[in-house]
Amino acid sequence: MTDRIIFVCTLLLAGVYFWATAQIPSLELGDPLGPKAFPRMLGVGLLIAAAMLLAEILRARKKAQSASDSDTLRWEKQHWIVAAVAAWTALYVALFEPLGYMLATLIFLLGLTGYFNRGRHLMNSLTCVLFVIISYASFTKILGVNLARGIIPF
């Protein structure tokens, strides 16, 4: 099942990529191939990958005709947690510049450690606060790396 989904996605992607390649305006001056030729080859490469995948799917089906279809993509309970972590990280990225590195990171870390290292509030908050202050100070003041300042004035 999974492989069939990948197969369909590959074909769709190839279609989109061929279309996007056709949109590139090209001026063939001194370059016999232009900017489109290599991408076109890659589009063909995607189709080859799809064909190889189809061959693998058919071969696997032949092998395990009687066996139950264990290869199914199922949404399980733990996938919700991954989705939630991804959403929390997206919120962090969205607030990174408006709030600044220190504040956004602190909120992000407190949320995740509070959930995944449950019950140890003192340890979590101390680690998060120290990490944020030390990393900000060492990267911006010592290494000269620019990190978003946000609403904090220093």
């Binding site: 999974t2 990948i6 590959t10 990529y17 996007a20 590139i24 305006p25 090209s26 001026l27 001056l29 001194g30 370059d31 016999p32 191939l33 232009g34 900017p35 030729a37 290599f38 991408p39 890659l42 490469g45 995607l46 080859i48 990958a49 799809a50 190889m52 995948l53 061959a55 693998e56 993509l73 309970k77 733990q78 996938h79 947690i81 991954v82 972590v85 991804a86 990280t89 962090y92 990225v93 990174f96 510049e97 590195y101 990171t105 992000f108 870390l109 995740l112 450690t113 995944f116 290292n117 449950r118 680690t127 990490f131 990393s135 990267f139 000269g144 790396v145 620019n146 990190l147 978003a148």
Partner: protein, 502 residues
């Protein structure tokens, strides 16, 4: 003679206090990265690139190489004490190493992997020193067509040899090449696939892709593991951190053999440390007088694979330094680091900048000695890292990744990309699409397209240039073999087993 002078000068470079310091810093961070699950050498090196931008290239590259081979030492500790490889290539160590730890011989398992890693790591660097010169003289004859076919070989080998399904390997390779085409085309100045986002005109940076695919994806997997209660706890070190005479006698053979296997496998593209350690393990099991002990704490099963995955790193640097073409994910990130510092590895580097190359190679002799000290008497310190609650560790890795990514351009787009590639890496892992081929082709994609178009310009659009010289023909044949190999091997095996039955 001139080469010998260069090699000796290289020692002078690597012995400079500043470079000794960066060697130490590199192997120290490498050990930490190896011990900690969640962040491997590829993501570790990638994250350091933006932060070390203004540094002297020689020192920076010495440090990054230190992370690369240091991580292999650290990876075995995690494999032995929690049965989870801290780094992919220590997967074989986790079988017998963990069994040894259960029997109260954790000390001996850690000792043999440190000593084995040291001996094999040194064998690997000697091999690198010896092979570098002859290969560079061949590489000097390479033109664009030769480079294109060489990259084709590296990519086909990596795509069909990593992961379970060759089709998915090829798919990953093409995806990497496609990402590499995003941005302004260097020859025509035409923007391609930028989707109207100005930041994409310079292309999608490989640092964010690597950090997303390796670090962020691992964080998602790790947090999922904590939630479902599958993450393991670390065992305490038991037994003396040394070997008995009997254990030593049993280990020395596997270490030497593993060292040689690892180096040879490392030089070839595609295979890498994991395959090197599997090959060493199966070799030892086959020639052992007591194969039944394998899987139940046989010290040979730790000594051999650990040796193999360490000399593999030096082997993998051979094509990277002499030809400028990496043969796997981690060396692809190293190539990215070289390019960021304005250094192009390849035969000309040995001519134009011998101090950098030999300073880097010779620093590895010193780095291996440092690693032996860090991983034997000081191993207790690093083991403490395993007691850091993972619920704190994984969130911190995201924050560190954010700093590294934001440092590149000061743009939030890079943070979004890390998240997106993190999700992609997580999904790819679930559906068995390997990510190493994607990283390799992403780093090589730009150079590959340029050499293809240069070759076509030289030949006036005639494809004959790609099969016009002996080198290109050999490389094309080798690419073809690497594509067909996954299909041929099962057939041969089936034939072999039929033969056995009759």
């Amino acid at each position: 003679m001139e080469t010998l002078t260069h090699i000796l000068n290289g020692f002078a470079v690597s012995m400079q206090p500043i470079n000794l310091w960066y060697t130490f810093l590199g192997v120290f961070m490498g050990t930490i990265i190896g011990v900690l699950p969640g962040i491997g050498p590829s993501a570790g090196i990638a994250l350091l690139i933006p932060i070390t931008y203004g540094m002297n290239p020689t020192s920076a590259l010495i440090m990054m190489a230190g992370i690369y081979y240091g991580a292999k030492y650290g990876g075995s500790t995690t494999a032995i004490l929690i049965r989870t490889p801290g780094e992919a290539a220590s997967v074989m160590t986790s079988i017998d190493g963990y069994e040894m730890a259960k029997k109260g011989r954790a000390g001996a398992a850690l000792a043999v992997s440190a000593i084995g890693s040291f001996i094999a790591g040194t064998i690997g660097v000697i091999g690198l020193t010896l092979f570098a010169i002859p290969l560079t003289s061949i590489a000097l004859k390479f033109g664009p067509a030769e480079y294109f076919t060489l990259m084709l070989f590296a990519m086909t080998a990596v795509s069909t040899l990593t992961g379970k399904s060759p089709a998915k390997g090829v798919l990953a390779t093409i995806l990497g090449l496609m990402i590499a085409t995003i941005g302004i085309d260097l020859q025509s100045g035409q923007a391609r696939y930028t989707m109207g986002i100005p930041e994409f005109q310079d292309g999608v940076g490989f640092v964010v892709v690597v950090v997303g695919l390796f670090a962020m994806a691992e964080v998602l997997r790790g947090l999922e593991g904590i939630y479902s209660g599958t993450s393991a706890a670390a065992m305490k070190i038991t037994g003396k951190l040394w070997l008995t005479r009997e254990e030593w006698k049993r280990s020395i053979g596997p270490i030497w053999r593993g060292g040689v296997i690892g180096f040879v496998v490392g030089v070839l593209p595609g295979a890498g440390g994991t395959i090197a350690s599997i090959m060493s393990y199966t070799t030892e099991k086959r020639i052992s007088k007591h194969p039944e002990e394998f899987g139940h704490g046989a010290i040979e099963g730790v000594a051999g694979p650990e040796a193999a995955n360490n000399s593999d790193t030096a082997g993998a640097l051979v094509p990277l330094l002499t030809l400028g073409i990496p043969g796997g994910g981690a060396t692809a990130v190293m190539l990215g680091a070289f390019i960021m510092y304005g250094v192009q590895p390849g035969p000309l580097l040995f001519q134009n900048n011998p101090q950098l190359v030999w300073g880097l190679i010779n620093s590895m002799y010193i780095g291996n000695v440092m690693l032996l000290i860090l991983n034997l008497p000081l191993i207790g310190l690093f083991v403490r890292l395993l007691y850091i609650p993972q619920g704190i560790l994984y969130p911190l890795i995201v924050a560190i990744s954010a700093i590294g990514a934001y440092a590149i351009n000061g743009s939030v787009i890079d943070l979004w990309l890390i998240l997106i590639f993190g999700i992609i890496g997580y999904v790819f892992d679930k559906v068995d699409i390997p990510v190493a081929p994607l990283v390799l082709s992403l780093v090589l994609g730009g150079i590959m397209e340029q050499s293809f178009r240069q070759a076509m310009t030289i030949s006036g659009g005639d494809l004959k240039i790609f099969y016009g010289s002996a080198i290109t023909v050999i490389l094309l044949v080798m690419s073809l073999i690497s594509v067909l190999l996954p299909f041929i091997i099962p057939k041969l095996r089936a034939l072999g087993s039929k033969g056995d039955e009759s």
